[in-house]
Symmetry: C2
Subunit: 63 residues, 2 copies
């Protein structure tokens, strides 16, 4: 499997795990839609700041 | 390993493989910086349109 976990970067520098086992990601103008390997969806008002796929990490920042 | 391959979506609907074994991704205002598992870097004037991580795919569109 090659899913990743999504973390929201907070203003204080902390990383908050917001969604696990992310498979599909669709960036949109107002945010980001993510779907995990179980078909569960989540939409956040955020954008991708950085990804480190070998570490299974997607870092998001609020928009 | 959990790297992905980056494909550029062309206007005719074709997918052009532009970078393989992508590990790190940094979206920027003018484009996207990618680094593969060997440390090789590539910058494209593109943004992420969609990702299907279980399929190891990152779909980019030109900006």
């Amino acid at each position: 499997m090659c899913e990743a976990n999504a973390y929201l970067l907070k203003e204080d520098g902390e990383e908050e795990l917001v969604f696990e086992n992310v498979d599909r990601v669709l960036p949109r103008e107002d945010g980001i839609l993510m779907e995990d390997i179980f078909g569960k969806k989540k939409i956040l008002r955020a954008r991708i700041k950085e990804m480190a796929l070998v570490d299974h990490k997607i870092f998001l920042e609020a928009i």
